[in-house]
């Protein structure tokens, strides 16, 4: 129920006073109401829940977090190398 999926806002339109956007989720696109994200621009990513965008994905924060996580991935390969090395007696 509380799931929200990230999608890219391809096109913004206003119809009967409601601001909505065509949002691409991989190969699928759907209309989503953009009234809760007035700052959104075409090309931004939004989190969509039951047809409503509830946030604009913060690109810099996402990349910063991911870079941090990636460095942990490297850490793992170092650990693996440690485990593979013969134990010192």
């Amino acid at each position: 129920m509380c799931l929200a999926i990230p999608g890219k806002v391809a096109q913004i339109e206003v119809k009967e006073g409601i601001r909505s956007g065509r949002v691409q989720f991989g190969g699928i696109s759907r209309l989503a109401c953009l009234d809760f994200v007035p700052e959104v621009k075409e090309g931004d990513y939004v989190m969509v829940h039951v047809g409503f965008a509830i946030s604009v994905v913060d690109k810099e924060e996402a990349e910063r977090t991911y870079a941090l996580l990636e460095s942990m991935g490297l850490l793992e390969s170092e650990l693996a190398a440690d485990e593979a090395a013969p134990a010192e007696s």
Binding site: M1, F36, A62, L69, E70, L75, E76
Partner: protein
């Protein structure tokens, strides 16, 4: 897909799990509130990846599971009326009411429609002016702004044939009740990232201060959850008690202001009954008196419909994190997704359904 695939990277997941196992000196008891998060944990086998470094218990964050039996009965009552079109999310159709479910009412000729978005229900009311269209509005704070918006849209379009059957619940009062219980053993919480996307973090900061319990706002992908668990374990090992936000790409401290304004315009809070758990103070949202003309409970005189829970189902214990689904004697035998005793076996977010779907029953049978 961007912002999904990278948070499912097995290499990073293994590194995070190794770090958690290394840093954890005892099996810390952690609870994820949201049923969506429960499913991610089970689907990707994160609990197995972590071994006994943490004990993951599952919280009450499944709106389908906590919708009281009598509200299901009210929805069934509405769906049987010849002049009503009942519109619902798909998950609600198989949830057992006292004597049947919406799926069977639909099969018997009741006009029950499934939608993806509540705006589809508003559109239906516009295209079917002779039908009384009732939307079954269940959910937590994440969904409340969308439901508020349908009322505002219906008002703007001058619709007289649209109403909501509201069963809205709020997360912080439920956490407060869990932490106040003498049976509580949870030492840290993963707060629901999309609820916080809407309402922000302030209420959770208050809980951290009041109960001296670490809370990390977490996302929904495997890497998000592992990262949130790591942050909780580090707090517990270092003796810190803080509110931290793992899900920074979606959650801002203040939350989403326009969404909060929509909720505040249409809804007000009051005590609400949770299925299997009972009444929790100030834990529900109800339509304000100024929007009474959109309130199905008042329009159709449904308040007298009450119900008793079936005794065998231990869903209350599961929803409170006191027991796991596999502790139930009916699990996987007398209770399955095809023939559920309780809602947690039906919902795509229910803990019992998660254990069943990802084959945990095979271990215990």
């Amino acid at each position: 897909m961007k912002y999904l695939d990278e948070y499912r990277d097995a290499r990073i997941a293994r590194a995070l799990a190794a770090e958690i196992r290394r840093r954890s000196s005892r099996p810390w008891v952690l609870m994820e509130i949201c049923g969506g998060q429960t499913h991610t944990l089970m689907r990707y086998g994160i609990d197995e990846l972590l071994g006994d470094s943490v004990d993951l218990v599952h919280g009450p964050g499944c709106p389908v599971c906590v919708t009281p039996l009598e509200i299901i009965d009210r929805a069934i009552n509405l769906a049987r009326r010849p002049d009503v079109t009942l519109v619902s999310y798909g998950d609600m159709l198989r949830v057992p009411g006292s004597d049947t479910d919406l799926f069977h009412v639909k099969a018997e000729g009741g006009d029950v429609r499934i939608v993806y978005s509540p705006t589809d229900a508003v559109n239906l009311a516009r295209t079917l002016p002779d039908r009384k269209v009732v939307f079954f509005a269940i959910g937590f704070e994440t969904t409340a702004p969308a439901h508020a918006m349908t009322v505002l849209q219906a008002e703007r379009f001058g619709l007289k044939n649209f109403s909501l059957l509201v069963s809205h619940v709020l997360v912080p009062p439920a956490i407060r009740m869990l932490l106040g219980s003498p049976k509580n053993r949870v030492q840290g919480f993963i707060a629901p990232g999309h609820v916080c996307t809407v309402v922000g973090c302030r209420d959770y900061e208050d809980l951290v201060r009041e109960f001296r319990v670490p809370i990390v706002v977490g996302g929904f992908e495997p890497i998000d959850l592992l990262e949130a668990i790591r942050m909780l374990v580090l707090q517990l090992e270092e003796g810190r008690v803080e509110l931290e936000n793992q899900y920074v790409r979606s959650v801002q401290y203040e939350g989403n202001r326009p969404a909060q304004e929509a909720i505040a315009r249409v809804f007000e809070s009051a005590d609400r009954k949770w299925r299997g758990i009972g009444s929790i103070p100030e834990s529900g949202l109800f339509l304000k008196p100024s929007y009474a003309s959109f309130d199905a409970d008042r329009l159709f005189d449904l308040a007298d419909i009450c119900a008793q829970e079936p005794p065998e189902c231990i869903s209350a214990e599961v929803l409170l994190g006191h027991k796991k689904p596999t502790d139930c004697t009916a699990f996987g035998t007398r209770c399955t997704p095809d023939k559920p005793l309780g809602a947690p076996m039906v919902s795509s977010e229910g803990a019992c359904a998660a254990y069943y779907q990802y084959k945990r029953h095979l271990v215990t049978l």
